[in-house]
Amino acid sequence: MLQKQVLEQFQKIVGPENVDDGEVMTNAYSYNWCMEFVNSMEGKEPLPFSSIPKAVLLPSNVEEVQQIVRICNKYNIQFKAQSTGLGPWNQPSSDNCVILDLRRMNKIIKIDERNLFAVVEPYVSGAQLQAETMKVGLMVHMPGAGPQVSPLASATSMNGPGFTSPHTGHSARNVLGVEWVLPDGEILKLGSTGLKNNSDWYIGDGPGPSLRGIMRGWAGAKSGIGVFTKVAFKLFPYPCSTKFKLSGISPNYEFEIPDYMKLYVIDCKSYNHLEKVFLKIEEEEISFICSHLSSYGLGAIFSNSIESLLDKIPIVGMKVPLVVLIAARTKREFEYKQKVMSKIMIDFKLENVIGSKYNPNSLFYAEALRSNLGLHGFIATGGFQSSKGQCDTVKVCLKTTKMSIPLKKKYIKRGVIGNDFGEGVWITSYESGHYFHIESPTMFDQTDEKSVKGMAENMEENHQFDLIKHLGAPFFVEGDKMHDLFGPEMMNYHIWLRKIKKAFDPNGIADSGFYISAK
């Protein structure tokens, strides 16, 4: 509960109907996916609840956000901002925190067809934006978390890998102008957005150094460095015909596959061979999707239930699969891309199982275009989270995969995580193969304490493993504990990050549970 005078001030800002500090509301906002193993990792009871926020606020514009943040500074109350709110990163880390649920900030400010970018508020979903950009032949990069999440959150605050990354890159690298309420309540506007005259969103860097480097890194600051109220990011040419027609009843839709799409699922047999094939395909700049998944993971993206996974024998029997989706705007482009693929298939002695041994439901193509494939990870146990999360060459991604198999198997053997033979990873290329990322989706049962604790241990051991073996910094390096673990092995970056936190959040008002505290 808030002090009466603070509550009244918040009510004045957002209206009484948009603040709630009641027991029911605040308790409901303390729940999130994966909180149980995050708690377990922190030595707490493995429950899916974080600290209970003091109140939940629903601001509707940047001015309201600014005023709330100022009140927080005045009364020394922390804030945690969330957009679509999926995952533990949205949760307060102390009981002195209010949640800013940015749901009411849901406008597409503009889709600039000519300058190829969109400007959105926090609660515009990927699918919403995609539906609108398609109308002008463009598409948006959506993260693996799915089309229901906020592209603003992905661009400013979270991570940003997506299934369409060969074509649409990484969220962090697509950012243009940004409107940002700093933890002290000042409003910063990056790049051309900060011009006093003729302000626009076309670039987010400068004048001079780019403050995008303070805003986020490979991972975002998860509200630890302020609240992002608008962001502009690049749009990409829609990869094929924008016809998007479904029939039937959910979830068994039939999709009229648009012109000029072709799927390849290839067994590369070995990781060495996969590396060569991966690089070659990406060098040719032909893929819309180019991902390695374990055979189990691959089966999952073609299935909408655990039962339907079992009839994917030609797929789940593959050793080292690669899934490539090519898409083209014109017949010429399509023929060229198919020719390139055919040549690669011959040169590398590969066989496409699609069309010969297996044909996915047409809905797969709709989900690929809508970036809905990541959500299939939930079909087996209902719970999953990825360990790993490194990003550099395909080589290090594959090496990480291979080296980590025994580690994963250990936990599979204990029966605390789902059995994917230890090979369950997702590796995708970015920007036509200029870099790659790996994550290791790991299935666990969030209702089973043993499994949750095992998942937490598995996560921690993976972190240690990646650190000791120099495999790169995983996704979950956030929060003081992890930064203090990795920082000393990584040029003491944590010291610099702390200085940034201190300079931009002198009162420590932006909740740092998933960022870093100034200490």
């Binding site: 429950l47 979830p251 655990i306």
Partner: protein, 437 residues
Amino acid sequence: MMQLNEEEYQMMIKRCLRCSICKWIPQVQIKSQKYATACPAIDLYNFHPYSGGGKIILALTLEMDRIKPSEELRDIVYKCTECGNCAIACKFLNTLEPLEIIMRLREKLVDAGYGPMPKQEAYIQAVKKHNNPYNEPHENRIEWLPDDIQIDPNAKVLYYVGCTSSYRRKEMAIAAARIMNEAGVPFNILSDEEYCCGSPILRVGEINTFRQVLNKNLDVIESKEIETVIFSCAGCYDTFKVDYPLYRDYEFKVLHTVEFFSELLEAGRLKLTKEIPLKVTYHDPCHLGRNAERYEQWDGDEVQIMPLISINIPPKPKKTGKGGIYEPPRSILKKIPGLTFVEMERIREYAYCCGAGGGVKSAFPEMAVNTAKLRIEEAEDTGAEIIVSACPFCSTNLQDGINSRGSKLKYFDISELLMMALGLEPEKLKQILGEAA
């Protein structure tokens, strides 16, 4: 039956991913930013617990004693039309049953003495006293029936009129009856032996009272050697078709008028002679669409194939809206000469709710009308001149939405439009064509 038992409920409330899929229509069906959402409650009240997933979290926090039953909790749980759109979205990939959980949560609040809402309690008392939630005298139930309608006391077809058509939307009852007369279908009605179907009672969690009215209705119908019961009310239809069998089996067949009339049209027993050269859109009532799917019997086994991973053999059926009645009303409209049929963006199993269901119309009239306004706006955006539906509850609420929004749209029940096309309402047809011109 596939309905959740307590054990499944307890397990399921621990499994929400808080992914917010439930707030949207199926992701692959989203066609615009404006009409992407699925849930009136979260659309209007914004705090996460108003969503389907949010209510699953409330259920969990309640079970874990993190919160106590309270009016605060009740007000959130009852600000929900139980339209079930969240459940369709969730089950695109997941296996949770947010609608079932909401219904169970209401039952628990009733048991704890917090539910239903006072106005809902008032209409339950009215049902107990007068057999209808409107507190109308039971003897007036048949007042809607014009003298020229032919009723056959020996007919095997029963027209179950329902409280709303009997007392509030009499035009629907009249239209249904006239069309059956036109097709030469002998039918009977229950007259003063017809009682509330219990839908508004069931939806707010008053199971005990619901059982009583259910038995009362089935006892009467089963005493009359009825083969088929026809409903013009989607709510009554859904309750008979889907909910009654969970408590008591019956032998007769149930059909909604749109199904029945569509069959009559196909069989050539109804001739559409009048042109209606207007643009018309159709609103799928939740009770006739996605929710009108029966629970399927499942006697399979849950088999653990490896640690943590179990499968159901055979696969457990999911209620995904596939059993809803979508095509018959569309087929009727498409057969009307001169009529141009246009679809809204959210249709069939992911249609947006009119806002009246789940006891909302009585307990939270403002929420109901605000939801209707959203739906009317969607209908307007199709360019339609007329919105039709097939539910008296939708009828009342969408018309309130039209009035409140100042919309130029006209609302008709599909049977009214059918009557005009059959040439049974020449004056009315002339009037609407004149207004459209």
